[in-house]
């Protein structure tokens, strides 16, 4: 009986989980291995007897040095950071107020507005960039960080609003009512009670928004043309693939360095992030 259960646990739990982990983490491993693999190994065919496709015998930091010295990678990193933080802050602030209003204030058309905001989030960026490009050109924002700082919120604000709306709804409205009786105005109750209680939700929205803008590709590709001003995803792809030549080592080194900040942000806030998504405040 006990043995049978152990056997079942392996078949239905451990082995599938192991497969899943390998499946999800292998690309990262491949990226890391390729980044430290010397060129001599990179361009050796697998059929050769000495080929070691899944690990490397002579790890090297050559690609990283190359990436940092010969390309504008540090600039890209800085640009991406600046743009991601600025657009996240803007979107969070707007999303907090909009989410509060849509979840708490009763006004004509509030439900319609909530749905409409969600629908705008569903409009694909691949369509939206055409009119946006026109606006960016008319406002002479092209090829400046503002082109991205101001366009990212077009999809981040609906996202943050929608997520925070859901979170605010889980906060008992008596908390606010009590604060209003205790001497706060509606605005005061929102800022002093609702927002602090909603910190997990706000952080989750922030992390998501940060990741979305960090990884954004289309707008960054179209609105930024000079090499210095590019973001990491665009810079790596456009500067390290020349024609049909792929600088695999530098590409992977760039991808690895580019994903570190996001990974750090996630690991710092992971606990908040989980409670933020599972919601619910217990008084």
């Amino acid at each position: 009986m006990l043995i049978e259960r152990k056997w079942k646990k392996w078949v239905f739990f451990y082995i599938p989980m192991l497969l899943f982990i390998v499946f999800t983490l292998f690309p990262f491993y491949w990226m890391a291995v390729t980044a430290v693999r010397p060129d001599s190994e990179l361009y050796r065919t697998w059929r050769q007897a000495s080929a070691t496709p899944f690990w490397t015998l002579e790890p090297t930091l050559e690609h990283f040095k190359d990436l940092l010295r010969t390309t504008a990678f540090p600039h890209w990193l800085w640009n991406t950071m600046l743009i991601a933080i600025a657009s996240t802050v803007i979107s969070l602030i707007c999303g907090m107020f909009a989410g509060y209003a849509l979840s708490r204030l009763k006004f004509r058309g509030s439900e319609f507005l909530g749905t409409a905001i969600f629908v705008t989030y569903l409009v694909p960026q691949t369509l939206l960039f055409i009119p946006l490009a026109d606006i960016i050109r008319d406002m002479h924002l092209g090829n400046t960080p503002w082109a991205l700082i101001l366009t990212y919120p077009t999809f981040l604000i609906p996202f943050c609003t929608w997520l925070l709306m859901g979170y605010f709804k889980t906060i008992p409205k008596e908390l606010e009512e009590c604060a209003r009786i205790d001497g706060a105005t509606r605005f005061g109750a929102m800022v002093r009670i609702v927002f602090p209680v909603a910190v997990p939700g706000i952080l989750s929205a922030g992390i998501f928004a940060f990741t979305l803008s960090w990884n954004e590709f289309i707008y960054a590709l179209i609105f930024m043309s000079s090499a210095e001003l590019k973001t990491v995803p665009v810079g790596v792809v456009s500067e390290l693939i020349r024609g049909d030549i792929f600088f695999w080592g530098q590409l992977m080194a760039g991808a690895l360095l580019g994903s570190i900040p996001v990974a750090l942000v996630y690991s710092f806030f992971v606990e908040y992030y989980v409670t933020g998504l599972s919601g619910s405040v217990k008084g």
Binding site: P172, E174, L175, E177, C178, A179, R180, I181, D182, G183, A184, T185, G188, R192, I193, P196, V197, V199, V281, K282, G283
Partner: protein
Amino acid sequence: MATVTIRDLEKKYENGFHAVKGVSLEIRDKEFMVLVGPSGCGKTTTLRMVAGLEEVTAGTILIGDQVVNDLPPKDRNIAMVFQNYALYPHKTVFGNMAFGLQMRGYASGEIDKRVKEAAGILGIEALLERKPRQLSGGQRQRVAVGRAIVRHPQVFLFDEPLSNLDAKLRVQMRVELKRLHEQLETTAVYVTHDQVEAMTLGDRVVVMKDGWVQQVGEPLELYGHPANKFVAGFMGSPGMNFVDVSVSESDGALWAEAKGLRVKVPPEAAGRIRKHGGTRLTLGVRPEGMRLADAADSSASLADYSFNLEADVVEPLGNEILLNFRIGGVPMVARLDPGARIKMHDRLSLALDSSRLHYFDAESEAAL
């Protein structure tokens, strides 16, 4: 310290629901007023309008001499205790209690003094540094009450504050609230659906139903002289028993008759019923208004007020026995002496206490 005056208060929601209909109340200074009724009767809506959390559709609310209809909640100088306590989860107990004072710009020394004082009254000094989630239900309740009393408001509003507590704790907190009210001498408006809470806490009780006020009075007045069948049935547990009877004149007296029941209307009530003139009435008797008909007592009056029945479920509660039975198909309950030896299906006779019979118009349900 203040009175609360409510005049012709109406509340209609946008979806057309008419929650409160023409409610007028005079709540005296230092009075403990309880609003009681089944869910959806408008008691909570009335309270929330007094608090300023709900807009008034029509009518006037005065706290003291001031009309507060359009005053925001923070300017009404009231405090409210909510059913789910509504403690601020990110603040400590001290922070929760201090918040109202901080918002009103009190000096930190004064805040400290008042919070400590309130915590002392409620026995929660040891909890001041804890967060709400670390407290038990009863402790949270105390903090919620503490948060209300630190501000020394003109009026306390309670919205079913005990209904989230278990039965034993509820009884204990009920006593504490009563004591606290004696101590603080502040006007209080208390909403509950529990008639026991209403009876035990209220100086006066307002019974509401479907947005209307049914009766306002002291607890025993409501119990002894209900204005209508609803109030009679709502106050008391188990509730009053009702039998539809027809009234007829015979041998110079009025007799109320139903299937399996024939009782004489006592002379003091006969006048009222004759004046009313109706022949269809509802007869009401509380469970304790019946007793076992003693065979040894052969007085004439016993025969006029006794009836035979077959015992259904018998519930011995230790201090009393609840006897369930039916009269003409209508389920009834009698509260009997614990010494009585009765089993299910026993045939026995009960006598009504003629001075404790209630008569209601069969149509309007108003008391006669």
